[in-house]
């Protein structure tokens, strides 16, 4: 990265790893400036990080909470100084995150307490761990938001490797082992809880794409240096090959989990990352054409294609197309969800007044929480919630668009990837709940029950917040 020109001179913070000291500083007091310079010089000489670690994870020493060690002195004073010296995070984005999290927790409690009482004998059985994880997540978000995005970039390749390992592990070690449904392998049991490797994989994919696409920007764009020239198609293919392999590998592994929605999510996320990363538009015609061909072959009744749809996937599609299909089975969930939405009407029946959450809507605290939200707060509440998500995504993209300098390409892609993922998940969840698409198993971010996914989500929010620090606010 050394050949990447530094473009942060105008920022208040100096580039941490740069050997050349910034000439201009804009710290508040000259005394402090003098002190810190001395410390920086002193600590800078003593780089205690093992060389091997630095090699594996480039920019590790740029982790902001470490840098104070070198530049602002050790101990609490240094930490406080380092934090105070940072630029503030994007307030609007943070605000959206907190609002959604608060709304999600409240809604989760309202929707889930009946189910909890009925099935676990304790109305707080869902909200307690969820709130605990939310607090933990907030702490993690705070910490992550103080980490230099370059560190994430450093972790990108490790993350994708870990993701692949976990995706393989889950195929042989999962919660359904010995329970008769070995084919569905989504969760790894750990520490008495469970977590979904596909959640990690999504983050790994975003990090990988962002990091790699920043590094291989020129190849992807099809130019090197200042001279624009035509590149042959195979060089173009070579340029996108790593992403095709990673996205294809990941979705393939998730498909082996019999997790169709996860497969589609990862494949689509990967494609969007490639699109944002600047992959030539004509490459996207291949998957689009493939899907279209697949669909046409399926419509035509081409048997190998039909067979690929496994029975449970097909049944969900059937249940979506035929609104009277198996009302007590495949369509039960969606029907109850629609009843809840209808019961709410435009203005809703009021907070806590949902009747469909009384065991009619299955998992009212989880995948179908949005239908309870619709019942209690009506169409107006649903639209406001969707607007909150929209604002979050929009603000994430705004943060991304502020990463103007070319060395912030990673930050930009990371923010867009994370926010797109949140927006897509929310959209797909709401689409399922409203019977717009066939039933899949996607939770609503911030709202649905699930500790690890909430923590991962908040960590991702922390990454976006961290990116937002590196930029100057517009206006």
């Amino acid at each position: 990265m050394k050949d990447v020109p530094k473009t942060t001179q105008r920022s208040r913070r100096p580039a941490q790893k740069s050997n050349t000291m910034p000439k201009k500083r804009t710290a508040s007091s000259t005394v402090q400036r003098k002190k810190s310079r001395e410390k920086q010089e002193r600590v800078g000489e003593v780089d205690r990080l093992p060389a091997i670690l630095k090699r594996i994870v480039p920019h590790l020493s740029e982790y902001r909470l470490w840098t104070f060690d070198y530049k602002r002195g050790t101990g609490l004073t240094g930490l406080v100084q380092a934090i105070r010296a940072q630029k503030s995070v994007d307030g609007f984005f943070l605000c959206m995150v907190l609002v959604l999290l608060a709304a999600g927790l409240v809604m989760m409690f309202s929707a889930g307490y009946v189910d909890a009482q009925e099935h676990l004998g304790n109305a707080y059985a869902y909200i307690k761990p969820q709130a605990t994880y939310a607090l933990l997540g907030l702490v993690i978000m705070a910490v992550v938001s103080n980490v230099n995005p370059k560190v994430f970039r450093g972790f990108a390749y490790i993350a994708v490797a870990v993701s692949f390992v976990l995706l393989v592990v889950v195929l042989v070690y999962h919660t359904n082992l010995g329970a008769g449904r070995e084919d569905i392998a989504r969760y790894i049991p750990i520490f008495g809880g469970t977590f979904q490797p596909s959640e990690i994989a999504k983050l790994g994919l975003i990090l990988f794409c962002a990091a790699s696409m920043e590094a291989r920007r020129a190849e992807i764009y099809g130019n090197t240096g200042r001279v624009k020239k035509r590149v042959s198609w195979w060089r173009g293919l070579l340029a996108i090959a790593p992403y095709v392999v990673v996205v294809g590998g990941m979705s393939g592994l998730v498909f082996l989990e019999h997790h169709l929605s996860g497969t589609i999510l990862i494949a689509f996320l990967g494609m969007v990352m490639m699109w944002l990363g600047g992959v030539k538009w004509y490459w996207f015609m291949i998957p689009i054409g493939a899907v279209a061909a697949f669909y046409l072959l399926y419509k035509a009744g081409f048997s190998p294609v039909v067979k690929i749809f496994q029975s449970y996937m097909l049944e969900r599609v059937k249940a979506w197309q035929d609104k009277s299909y198996d009302p007590l089975g495949a369509r039960w969930q969606v029907n109850q969800s629609l009843y809840a939405i209808g019961s709410g009407g435009f203005w809703g029946s009021g907070f806590g007044q949902s009747k469909q959450k009384h065991l009619y809507v299955s998992e009212p605290h989880n995948d179908f929480i949005f239908s309870i939200l619709c019942e209690e707060f009506g169409y107006i509440g649903a639209i406001i919630t969707m607007l909150l998500f929209a604002l979050l995504v929009k603000q994430g993209f705004t943060i991304a668009s502020r990463q103007n300098s070319s060395d912030k390409r990673f930050n930009s892609l990371l923010c867009m990837g994370i926010c797109f993922q949140v927006g897509m998940q929310a959209a797909l969840n709401i689409a399922v709940v409203t019977d717009t698409i066939p039933n899949t198993g996607i939770g609503l971010p911030f709202f649905s029950y699930g500790g690890t996914s909430l923590v991962i989500l908040l960590a991702e929010m922390g990454m976006v917040l961290s990116c937002s620090r590196t930029t100057r606010r517009r206006g």
């Binding site: 619709c374 969707m386 300098s405 959209a427 019977d435």
Partner: protein, 831 residues
């Protein structure tokens, strides 16, 4: 953005910005916008789709949700009771249980073999408890597509208790061992998904629901009149059907919210409406008179081997029906069971060769024939013959012809006609039943002899127009109004000749009661009009309706339809009819002490192959002739003993019913000493016996003497010879009067204290007098009904002072007065 260029990288950046940088950035931004646009389009699509559920279809979806969430329980009202005029209970509803099953819940057992095994086990255990075959129960349990099915309705307490014990078991008590709730092991999965055995409780698929059952405490009593209820307390026949709405009441409603597991859920839906219990019916029917009628009809049915019989007793002044019965009858508690001995035997014979031969053309299998015979028998016993059977009234109708002629003054009481035994009219020859002819007769004697030719002649004098006008006026062309849907509706041209189409020949046969058909009730109503001074009343059976608290909510008043003939004409016809009973064809209907007016009828049934040579014997009468109170009609359909005459078959039945009813109704018999019975004795001589002289005779001889005079002897004292007697020799006592025979002087002088008869009913007074050793003479001139209410007479005056001493055997005359009803009895008299 990079304003400061530093080194090679800086230059690159600057060039990028100048030449391509902005371009690239713009491209990247465009791509980001494209992704955002994708999400935005998705969001808009979803928002629009959501609006269809949230706004457009909200009402329907909400309805669906409420259908799931709300448990709408119908609270059944208690069906009203049916009482007779004296508040004797005739029909009553009680709460019982229904055994139901929920077959769809069997699907919790995933293994099919296991499910079948548990189903069989439950069916085997349950079947004996509910008195059904295991296969029947199993068949119900196997219908797993149904959420709820009935196994057994109207399970009474012992049965429901047994089922409850099986389902829920019993806790161990100090005295009894506990019984576990029935359960069966099945394979299921625990929370981790591992297969485990668990208990499957029978109570999760079988349960008890509230149900009601109708009870008829008197069984066969008034069966065809009352009718019965089917499942769900719906009246199917008779009054139960006719007054179903009033008896049923208004169901209540309990609306509660439920969660998906069936538990209660707090909600603002909760709503409760009380059921309004059905009204009770108080009939004008008098159970005592009904008993008399049923007793006599049952005897007649037995004696005559008739197809069916029917009888009605009516209060002539109000039109209130006091009794209405028919045979064969059936037990209302088991309405589908053929309980009549005679009919059952006939049914058993149905598969004999004779029956087969008879049915060759219908090509029915034996089972079908049996089925048909059973259905016919059920219909025959369940229908109310008195209002549904139509028959040719025959000679009974001559009374009405006479009334028409007298009213129209086309024929006088003194007008004579010579009957030669036949009459030529319109190319047809009419024969009188006496082929040799009755000779010269006046009007009264023609009725007494029931002379057909005489009445044909009278009918021709009346003319077609007048005849059909009166026919209509007597209410024979319409339903009587007793029950609009159970009564057979007369049809012009079918059941009777309408005025316009009636020919002279039709008139001829109509004038002696052939060629048109009426129901027994129509006939009796018309005859009652004669008894009631020409006023035609609407017959009715329900006196009043009581609500659940016993308040009268509806009171039926007697309704006069019209004055058909003048009181004068009615009196003349009454006298003619009285003569029929005194010395005419109706002699068998004579009731001593009561001046009965009556007319017999013997009519051929409609000439079809089925009814060829079949007759209906009938008798209609009312009494007392000078102040008619009750009227009675008896019809005997297709008597099977060779005898067909109304005078022989129906009149004695009516006589016994009338006698018992009149005595019961406290109509004081008056024995006339001028009225000749036959030609030798006066009524008084015949029925009012002289006390023989027995003083000085030994006991046995004295008893025989008294018995010979149709009196009852009661010996008092320990002596061998009769010392004295009360009443004295030569005095008159009515039939069965008690003669006290004293064998010792001490006994003779034994005094008794007169009881206080005040406020006693006649029955009570009788008992009190007997225990005191006094003769009771009942004095009362009460109508049996006042404003349709059965009058309960109460004593208010007595000839011997209460508490004073009188010789045993003295006669005490007790006078009775009316109360409007038993329930209103407060100890004061209604003047």
């Amino acid at each position: 953005m990079a304003s400061k260029k530093t080194g090679r990288a800086g230059q690159w950046a600057a060039s990028l910005k100048k030449k391509r940088g902005d371009n690239v950035r713009r491209k990247n931004l465009m791509r980001a916008y494209f992704v955002l646009a994708l999400l935005a389009v998705g969001a808009v699509v979803i928002a629009l789709h959501l609006s269809t559920s949230s706004i457009k279809n909200a009402a329907a979806l909400r309805q669906h949700a409420e259908n799931n969430q709300l448990l709408d329980t119908v609270l059944r009202p208690q069906r009203g009771n049916i009482y007779d005029a004296n508040m004797e209970l005739l029909a009553q509803s009680a709460n019982v249980k229904a055994v139901v099953c929920w077959p769809s819940k069997f699907l919790a057992i995933e293994d099919e073999d296991e499910r079948a095994a548990i189903m069989t086990a439950i069916a085997d255990a349950l079947a004996p408890l509910v008195d059904k075959k295991p296969e029947t129960v199993l068949a119900q349990l196997k219908k797993t597509k149904n959420s709820s099915l009935s196994i057994r309705v109207q399970a009474e307490k012992p049965m429901s208790d047994a089922v409850s014990l099986y389902l829920f078991g019993r806790k161990k008590t100090s005295t009894e061992e506990g019984v576990a709730a029935a359960s069966y092991l099945y394979t299921t999965k625990d929370a981790t998904g591992a297969k485990v055995k668990d208990k499957f409780y029978a109570a999760s698929v079988v349960g008890l629901d509230p149900d009601t059952k109708r009870y008829y405490p008197k069984g066969t009593f008034a069966s065809s009149l009352l009718g019965f209820t089917g499942r769900d307390d719906v009246g199917l026949y008779g009054l139960e059907q006719q007054f179903n709405k009033e008896l049923t009441g208004i169901p209540g409603r309990k609306l509660t919210a439920q969660n998906a597991a069936g538990g209660d859920m707090a909600s603002d839906y909760d709503n409760y409406t009380d059921p309004i219990d059905g009204n009770s019916l108080v009939l004008t029917l008098d159970a005592t008179i009904q008993r008399y009628l049923e007793r006599e009809l049952a005897q007649a049915q037995k004696d005559t081997k008739a197809n069916a019989t029917s009888g009605i007793v009516m209060d002539v002044q109000s039109g209130a029906v006091l009794a209405m019965a028919g045979t064969p009858s059936y037990d209302l508690n088991r309405p589908m069971e053929v309980s009549d001995e005679q009919v059952r035997k006939a049914l058993e014979k149905i598969n004999t060769a004779e029956a087969k031969k008879k049915d060759t053309d219908t090509k029915l299998t034996e089972a079908e024939r049996k089925e048909k015979a059973l259905t016919d028998a059920q219909n025959n016993m369940q229908k109310n013959h008195a209002i549904t059977d139509i028959y040719y009234p025959g000679s009974v109708f001559k009374c009405l012809t006479a009334a028409m002629a007298l009213e129209e003054k086309v024929w006088g009481l003194g007008d004579h006609y010579y009957d030669t035994g036949s009459l030529q009219l319109g190319g047809r020859t009419y024969h009188c039943h006496k082929r040799t002819g009755h000779g010269d007769q006046d009007f009264t004697h023609a009725l007494m002899n029931s002379c057909n030719t005489y009445f044909i002649t009278v009918g021709q004098k009346i003319g077609v127009q007048k005849f059909s006008d009166y026919f209509e006026a007597f209410g024979l062309t319409e339903q009587t109004g007793f029950s609009t849907f159970a009564e057979t509706k007369p049809k012009a041209g079918v059941t009777y000749h309408a005025g316009k189409t009636m020919s002279v020949v039709d008139l001829a046969s109509s004038s002696f009661g052939q060629s048109f058909q009426v129901t027994p009730l129509q006939m009796l109503t018309a005859i009652s009009a004669i008894a009631n001074g020409g006023k035609l009343m609407t017959p009715y059976i329900v006196d009043r309706e009581l609500d659940a608290q016993g308040n009268t909510v509806k009171k039926n008043e007697p309704t006069m339809r019209r004055q058909v003939v003048s009181a004068d004409t009615a009196a003349k016809v009454t006298e003619m009819m009285r003569q029929v009973v005194v010395d005419g064809t109706g002699k068998n209907g004579y009731v001593p002490g009561y001046r009965v007016a009556g007319k017999t009828g013997t009519s051929q049934k409609m000439v079809t192959s089925e009814h060829d040579g079949k007759y209906v014997a009938s008798f209609v009468c009312f009494a007392p002739a000078d102040n008619p109170k009750i009227a009675c009609i008896i019809t005997i359909d297709e008597p099977g003993n060779g005898q067909i005459n109304g005078s022989v078959l129906a009149a004695p039945v009516a006589e016994r019913v009338m006698e018992d009813s009149l005595i019961y109704l406290n109509v004081v018999p008056q024995y006339s000493d001028t009225q000749k019975i036959g030609s030798t004795y006066s009524e008084k001589e015949m029925y009012y016996d002289e006390v023989p002289k027995v003083v000085g005779k030994d006991i046995k001889e004295a008893q025989e003497l008294v018995k010979k005079n149709l009196l009852t002897a009661r010996v008092i004292g320990e002596g061998d010879k009769i010392v004295s007697q009360v009443p004295a020799a030569g005095e008159h006592l009515y039939k069965d009067g008690v003669v006290l025979l004293y064998t010792t002087k001490e006994a003779r002088e034994k005094n008794t204290t007169a009881p206080d008869f005040m406020h006693m009913t006649p029955d009570e007074a009788k008992a009190a007098a007997a225990s005191a050793g006094l003769h009771l003479l009942v004095k009362s001139d009460l109508p049996s009904l006042v404003d349709g209410v059965r009058v309960v007479p109460r004593a208010y005056r007595q000839s011997l002072a209460p508490g004073k001493s009188f010789p045993q055997g003295s006669t005490v005359t007790v006078t009775f007065k009316k109360y409007s009803s038993e329930t209103e009895y407060t100890g004061t008299f209604v003047e």
